[in-house]
Amino acid sequence: MDQIINILIYIFVYVFAHLIFFRLFNFNINKIFIVLLAFFASLFILIYTNSYEILLNLVSFNIFVLSFYILFPGVLNNGPALVIIDLLVKNKSIKKKKLKFLFNKNEASRVVRNRLRLNLDSNLILKKKNKKLLLTSKGKAIVHVLHFIAKFFKLKTYE
């Protein structure tokens, strides 16, 4: 039971530290660097202690950090789907025209511009001198992986 309390404390401390940094210093510590740092620190602790109980706790903690890393962009950014659902929850039944009007008023309507910027900032897209956009090798790899997932699981992607 002590070990369960320990892992819950680790998780609570991580989320609390993230919340404090985000709200007080406007700094998001949820970066790939932190995920890797947690992983390598865990590996080091594991080699040092060689304990089965600690191994279970560290796997749990690392998988939580990874899940949180995946979850947080969804919390930070308002996607168009979330905005539409939010408008539908607030207005139980609404005409499409009005819904469209409310959606266009929202910040999320500029979502394409924001995501394009995000892709450029994360080096997934390159802007050539003639202003044409090109995928980097990282971007191409992501497209291939996503195409494989969609095909393998028969997912409809609306292209």
Binding site: V75, S93, V112, L116, L146
Partner: protein
């Protein structure tokens, strides 16, 4: 470490692998309701997970039980997100658009992908997976399962002081 200890380490990942397999099988039968397939496959494996834990309860320590359930929940969450990316991620969609047409400029994309287009596309997606229905020209939220995700996200946004609209 005995054999059981080693099995326990891999058990939640094996359960997640079976979750992916069941989702794959359900998608082959009916790919129209991917969200239901994703949720029901997850619940089905979670029940098997809990049933096996209860059956062999005296073999596991409380920490191992917690580990098996917790790691299964987290790795399933990662799998669900992986499935969601090709369907609903706009960032991924922009990459696909540029991959298909390398002559696009930023201006052209923004012109082609106006907010009204994004809206229409999301409505089309919601209608296809029966999240919403249109009755007497009124849009109604039909799928109540989505409200679970919505409530969870809204709660997190409130903690982090991020407004939706």
């Amino acid at each position: 470490m005995n054999k059981l200890d080693i099995i326990v380490i891999f058990l939640p990942f094996i359960f997640t692998f079976f979750y992916a397999l069941i989702f794959f099988a359900r998608q082959q039968i009916n790919s129209k309701h991917y969200l239901s397939n994703l949720i029901y496959s997850f619940i089905f494996i979670l029940f098997i997970n809990l049933y096996l834990i209860l059956k062999f309860f005296n073999l596991f320590s409380s920490q191992q039980v917690f580990y098996i359930v917790f790691v299964y929940l987290c790795s399933s969450f990662i799998f669900m997100n992986l499935i969601q990316i090709p369907i609903s991620s706009l960032q991924a969609k922009i990459l696909k658009i540029i991959f298909k047409d390398p002559n696009l400029t930023e201006k052209l994309i923004l012109k082609k992908y106006k907010s009204s287009n994004v809206f229409e596309e999301r409505i089309k997606t919601f209608l296809f997976n029966k999240t919403i229905t249109i009755k007497n020209s009124l849009i109604i939220l039909e799928n109540k399962k989505i409200l679970l995700f919505y409530t969870f996200l809204k709660f997190l946004k409130k903690i982090y002081n991020i407004k939706i609209s």
